[in-house]
């Protein structure tokens, strides 16, 4: 257990924790799991559509990953970072035109009907490709899914598709839903979207809006003896301070996804019976990024962007704003990614004098009031840390003579202002790295994306060489060659600074000592929890 419990002091010793965590061996548990019990945990939002095949987002997975399973799940020790779930093996053809999945035998849907390759084919072709937020990109060239027998699904692609991408996409994008439930009527209006039917260790019980979600044990689960828990209750606690209070009052046993604010962790880690856990989110890394509107003539100048990069003290941001629970960033791939990350990129040390010199060189001299020019700065409101970084960035920019005016919006207004109206000069955003740069990372700097697409390049940045590199990587089938291209991609982004990567962070869980088998995979909070248990 000691391997998982990390005090704030040890966290502060280095931001290399995020890097180290993937290399950490998994500890074996001394206790044998107990059966039974009800796990109560905090939920801060209430997703209405619980179908993870349509909405691939952490908020939905948090609840529905226990009900609806994917073909494979992320794993610390498995080959290529994967562990089998509904598929037991997978293989991509050398020409990139097909991928074969062997499926698990003896799996039943919660309504008793058998799970077959027809369900996989239906989910892939009718839901992931046309409807899913991420699948629409990754599976865009999927043309057919052949089902030679009940336990084999062969994905056919119209254009060569790197199998590495498909493999990396499996944990988040491959939720399989039952064909017999969804084949009648409009998929988006299916009642099962609000009361999902899956193959997972837990069945959907009930949802009381504003109060709780209740999941109950699937006694017919394919993995014998699992799950251990009888019930999982997600208690809706909209106020962020109440999760900590509920843990202390022993009304809940777990608060995942940083439901307990960073500032409270020090205090709560001293409460007997509670532990703070930083593991189990390695596959859900968020990046703190300064988005830049290149339509502003000052910001179109590389020297100005370099000056801004030099003005940001990344170590300070990690230590003060994230209280050490983060790592500094070097480029568009986070340090804790085991496949693609490279440290061999241009870096920008914190150096105010150099930043000022660069701005002078660029021809933006300080005026009589000490200002060179003014900018509109829009911090995204989704996280405390993005808002706080907005305040910090304003000060950091003031030190180099750039007057930044903060514009604070709520989520909907921010999305519209930045990604549709382009009414910003600088914005602070938290894009997610999803295990492969092609899923949601290259889109941040690629040109030619229509207006209004969130979390994409809406800053008017256009770099033909970088666009060509992204296209080439998306067509390269060989894993090594493809990985190398993405290393080159990181170098070019860090050199030209279409955006500035500042830090990388993930979430933190606070749990009662009684909860066992926490954080045993890199996407633990959004995995199926079949082996989670409660000590009596």
């Amino acid at each position: 257990m000691s391997g998982f419990t990390i005090s704030r002091r040890t966290m502060l010793t280095g931001s290399a924790i995020l890097l180290a965590s993937t290399a950490m061996p998994t500890s074996s548990w001394a206790q044998t799991p107990k059966k039974g019990g009800r796990l109560v945990l905090a939920a801060d939002s209430e997703p209405r559509n619980l179908n993870p095949a349509i909405v691939a987002s952490n908020g939905v997975f948090f609840i529905s990953s226990k009900i609806v399973e994917t073909l494979a799940e992320a794993s610390f020790e498995g080959k290529d970072g994967l562990a089998p779930r509904l598929a037991v093996s997978w293989e991509g053809a050398a020409d990139g035109l097909s991928a074969t999945f062997k499926l698990r035998e003896g799996v039943k849907w919660h309504d008793g009907k058998p799970f077959t390759s027809a369900d996989v084919a239906f989910s892939a072709l009718r839901i992931w490709k046309p409807l899913q937020n991420l699948g629409r990109t990754v599976f865009k060239d999927l043309s057919a899914v052949d089902t030679p027998d009940d336990l084999t699904a062969v994905f056919k692609f119209a254009k060569p598709t790197p199998f590495q991408l498909i493999r990396n996409a499996l944990p988040a994008l491959s939720s399989v839903v039952p064909k017999h439930v969804y084949e009648v009527g409009k998929i988006e209006d299916n009642p099962a979207n609000n009361a999902p039917i899956g193959t997972g260790p837990f069945k959907f019980g009930e949802y009381k809006a504003g109060q709780y979600y209740r999941l109950t044990k699937n006694t017919d689960y394919w993995s014998k003896d699992e799950p251990y828990l009888d019930e999982i209750i997600y208690q809706v606690l909209p106020d962020r301070t109440s999760a900590a209070a509920a843990l202390e009052a022993e009304e809940i046993q777990l608060a995942a996804f940083s439901a307990v604010p960073l500032a409270d962790l020090d205090r709560i880690s001293k409460v007997p019976g509670l532990k703070v856990i930083t593991k189990g989110y390695e596959g859900l890394t968020y990046q703190l990024v300064v988005e830049i509107n290149h339509r502003r003539k000052e910001l179109a100048d590389i020297k100005v962007r370099q000056a801004i990069a030099h003005a940001i003290d990344k170590d300070f941001v990690v230590k003060t704003m994230f209280l050490g629970y983060a790592a500094t960033a070097t480029g568009p791939v986070p340090k804790n990614d085991p496949q693609f990350y490279t440290a061999d990129v241009p870096t920008y040390a914190f150096d105010v004098a150099k930043a000022n010199a660069l701005l002078d060189e660029a021809g933006y001299r300080k005026g009589a009031d000490g200002n060179r020019f003014s900018l509109k700065l829009l911090p995204a409101p989704y996280f405390n840390e993005t808002k706080q970084f907005g305040d910090y960035l304003r000060q950091a920019l003031a030190a180099i003579g750039i007057d930044a005016q903060l514009v604070n919006n709520d989520s909907a207004a921010h999305i519209k202002a930045v990604y549709t109206d382009h009414a910003f000069d600088l914005a602070v955003g938290p894009p997610v790295f999803r295990g492969d740069p092609a899923i949601s990372t290259t889109i941040l700097v690629q040109s030619g994306i229509p207006d209004g697409v969130p979390f994409s390049n809406q800053g008017g940045y256009k770099n033909d060489a970088l666009d060509a590199l992204i296209t080439k990587a998306s067509e390269t089938l060989d894993t090594t060659a493809r990985t190398d291209l993405y290393k080159e991609f990181q170098k070019q982004v860090a050199a030209d600074l279409p955006l500035i990567n500042v830090a990388e962070w993930s979430f933190i869980s606070v749990a009662s000592d009684k909860v066992g088998n926490i954080a045993n995979n890199p996407r633990w909070a959004v995995s199926n929890w079949a082996d989670t248990y409660l000590e009596s």
Binding site: R48, S242, N409
Partner: protein, 326 residues
């Protein structure tokens, strides 16, 4: 008399409601971002998906068309479909209304009951030590922000003492029924009702006290003193009774503020009521849902004020007569 009042109020109310609906609609339209913008914050998505969603949720129609459609449906007593819940708005609201009503009625009873009692106690001897203490203490409560008072109550009574639950409206998934369930709900409501009620307590206390100070100077008090009535009888039967009238008016006005205050309290205590729903509807830019909530609240406030007027007519016949005759 009451019938005349009712009829006149009904006609006025329809205009009020129409103004409320159109005003809210325009305000929400002026807020940047629509329901799709709010939705894609947590999902992302490409241009095609966004277009699909706008079409599905009818957001690709012009504002005027949507307002006209809404009003037409409203004429048929149809509140429409919630974008975020994908359910009829009537059902969503009816599910939350009882919780908010219980919270509001209990909190009002607490602040009105305790406030006026303490007000009588303080006003019976104006300028005394107890009068000053109560005035300062109640003002301090009034100055405290609602969420802070709520959090302090949680820390003391739920975390440290563990006498009461930290939040929610009943024990989760407990399958309790009947009296057991009622008792369970009552225990859960102690803290939120206190937090909401104590804030407005000062208002009633001070009004009562000020009213009594005023009445003390009236001739009939002097007269009853001269008749040799006991001080107790003068305070309760003559002074307090006359000072109570303005408080009843306040009760009606206060109901609107209570609804506003419940937004914060419902969030802090995780109570699934209308206030929290309104907050969520704004964040999600779910215009029809918010319109439904505001309409419900407006009807509620109008009804409460109507009840207050009827009560007033009974308490002070002069008021009822003048309203009916005018």
């Amino acid at each position: 008399m009451t019938l005349v009042l009712l009829r006149r109020r009904l006609v006025g109310s329809i205009f009020v409601l129409l103004i409320v609906v159109i005003g809210t609609f325009l305000l929400l339209e002026a807020a940047p971002g629509d329901a799709v913008d709010a939705y894609i914050v947590s999902t992302g998505g490409d241009a095609g998906m966004i277009e699909l969603l706008r079409h599905r949720w009818g957001l690709d129609q012009s504002e005027l068309t949507r307002l006209a459609n809404y009003l037409w449906a409203l004429l048929h007593l149809d509140l429409g479909q919630s974008v975020t819940f994908s359910r009829p708005i009537r059902d969503v609201i009816l599910e939350r209304l009882p919780t908010t009503l219980i919270l509001m009625v209990s909190a009002t009873a607490l602040s009105f009951g305790l406030g006026s009692t303490l007000g009588i106690y303080a006003g019976a001897r104006p300028g005394s030590l107890r009068d000053r203490f109560l005035s300062v203490a109640s003002l301090a409560l009034y100055a405290v922000p609602g969420f802070w008072l709520g959090l302090v109550l949680i820390v003391i009574f739920a975390v440290d003492l563990r006498w009461l639950p930290i939040g929610g409206v009943e024990t989760l998934a407990s399958d309790k029924t009947g009296l057991d369930r009622a008792a369970d709900i009552a225990i859960h409501l102690v803290l939120p009702v206190s937090a909401l009620g104590f804030i407005y307590l000062a208002l009633y206390l001070r009004m009562m006290r000020a009213g009594m100070a005023e009445v003390w100077r009236q001739d009939f008090v002097l007269a009853s003193r001269a008749r040799g009535l006991s001080r107790r009888r003068i305070v309760l039967a003559h002074v307090a009774r006359n000072a109570l009238l303005p408080l009843v008016t306040m009760l009606g006005l206060q109901s609107a503020q209570m609804l506003g205050g419940s937004v914060v309290i419902e969030s802090v205590f995780a109570v699934p009521g209308l206030g929290r729903l309104a907050q969520e509807a704004v964040a999600a830019r779910d215009t029809p849902l918010l319109l439904g909530i505001i309409l419900t609240s407006a009807v509620l406030v109008i009804l409460i004020n109507l009840l207050v007027d009827i009560a007033y007519a009974f308490l002070d016949p002069r008021v009822g007569a003048s309203e009916a005759g005018a």
